[in-house]
Amino acid sequence: MHRQGGLFAGERGFALLMVSPGLLVLALTTTFPLAYLIWSSFQNINLAMPFLDGFAGLDNYRDMLSDGRFWHALQLTGIYTVSSVFLQLVIGLGLALLVMQIPTGQWLFRIVAILPIVLAPVVVGLFWRTLMLAPEFGIVDFIIRTLGFESVNWLGSPTPALVSVILIHTWQWTPFAFLVLLASLASLPLDVFEAARIDKANAFQRFIHITLPLIRPAIIIVVIMRSMIALSAFAAIFAATGGGPGTASEILNLYAYKTSFVELNFGYGSALAVSLLIITLGVSGILFHLRTARRS
């Protein structure tokens, strides 16, 4: 096609030279530890009882199948991911549609929406645990009591704790969905809407038949990206409830973490992490498949 510079014989050679440091680093920093994780999931590695260490075969996985806490964590992972992604999408899309109608001042929404996104999740978890949700002194409790309701121990009782960690995650990441969808809406061609208006389609029909199909790629991207993050959410839950009370907000991610670093059972912790890895790759595979299959 074009002549090659003397320094690099061919395009392929040059491409290989450019790409190999990156791939090498990825292989060493990601693939090797993952292989190690899979290996350790077939071992007994317990820093509290090192004399039992050794090859375990499928024992860890067999234990997992009969471990009620694992199934509970798996269920919570599903609830946490589906409900928080759903809420982010619905609120984010609703707000984006609202803001599109506002003639001036959109910049204010864009600026405010950036704030939760740039905060460290651990800070978000800590703020909600103390300033917002703490019984007695938290502002949410204050509002609830002012309105005449009973004080709720948001993070200290099981169901409110799960609801709280879902809402905290939703609070932090809805702005992401909002900003992506707002940008997508802003890039739509106006003439399509004009044509529909001439056809006397009402606002709801316009939304269902025109807007929604046009922004579907953006919606699917939001769902994919947010699902991946929700599946391995850690810092905010860890800071707010630590997975508790008991195991009430312990998603699989936290269970794998605690098994390894609190109970020091790294073998079983590895097996739990492998199961989360498989679930994450499976979910992303399905979502990516949906994206390509539906596009025509």
Partner: protein
């Protein structure tokens, strides 16, 4: 007609009110943190919470220069985040260039591999890294922490940079080749100036993610390498009720991120949406 105007006005007012409520919910925790950080610890525990009080800067002084100063942690975070960012950019730019613009055998699979590494749940890495770094003696070390941070920064940076590099018209490179430039010169003189904006966005994202990271920091760090996110967590668990000092420390740690966020707001949104708005992004 007049009636229609007033319903339209009412509708707009409702929309604006609704949107403002959501706006308020997002901004409130931060505003409240600022308020609390200016209170004395005794004032924090007053019920009902007071809006009017004597403001004090003591919490900020304590957080920076007091007994549990976060200053060393801020420096640690700065070192780790900066080193991670520099390394990531150095490795990711050439890789992204190859993926976006060069012929490469198995490119599709290599691209898929890069994307897949980005999806690995961090807990699946922190466990083997703890065991490996423990054996190598790299726990609580800068080189260990920076290596681990490459696991999430590198795939992300490559992926983001590819989107920017794909947008450059072929003709620009062709022109450079006609001028007898070699591949490397074309990258250096033609491509890089064009993707300066994309590189800036990538730097912002990588730095932000490294600064805010917690799981690796808390488990693979220690007394030598204690990033600021861990310092804050320790703060609240040790000093249960010192909310005012926690708020002050958290605000100090987050102010750089908030400044970056607000000043680079446009670029960040562009980075978030680079795949989404183009109509699906990467195949």
């Amino acid at each position: 007609m007049k009636n229609r105007d007033s319903t339209k006005y009412l509708r707009n007012a409702t929309l604006f009110a609704l949107a403002s409520i959501l706006l308020f919910i997002w901004v409130f925790p931060l505003v409240w943190a600022v308020v609390v950080s200016l209170k004395s610890e005794a004032e924090v525990l007053a019920y009902p919470p007071r809006i009017i009080f004597e403001a004090t800067a003591q919490n900020f002084k304590d957080a920076l220069f007091g007994g549990v100063s976060i200053l060393p942690s801020l420096i640690t975070s700065l070192i780790v985040s900066t080193a991670t960012t520099i390394l990531t950019i150095l490795i990711a730019v050439p890789a992204a260039y190859a993926f976006a613009r060069l012929e490469l055998r198995g490119k599709k699979w290599l691209g898929f591999y890069t994307l897949a590494t980005q999806m690995v749940p961090p807990v699946g890495l922190v466990i083997p890294y703890f065991l490996i770094l423990n054996k190598v003696g790299w726990l609580d070390s800068y080189q260990g922490m920076i290596t681990v941070y490459l696991t999430f920064s590198l795939p992300f940076a490559i992926w983001l940079l590819v989107s920017y590099m794909e947008d450059i018209p072929r003709e620009m490179e062709e022109a450079a080749f006609l001028d007898k430039a070699n591949r490397f010169q074309a990258l250096w003189h033609v491509i890089l100036p064009q993707v300066r904006g994309g590189i800036a966005v990538t730097i912002i994202f990588v730095f932000l993610n490294a600064w805010n990271e917690f799981l690796f920091a808390v488990q693979l760090g220690g007394n030598t390498v204690r990033p600021v996110t861990v310092a804050m967590y320790n703060f609240v668990s040790v000093e249960q009720t010192l909310w005012a000092k926690l708020s002050a420390a958290a605000l100090i740690a987050m102010v750089p991120m908030i400044i970056i966020g607000i000043t680079a707001q446009k670029q960040i949104v562009k980075g978030l949406t680079v795949g989404a708005v183009k109509g699906g992004g990467r195949q």
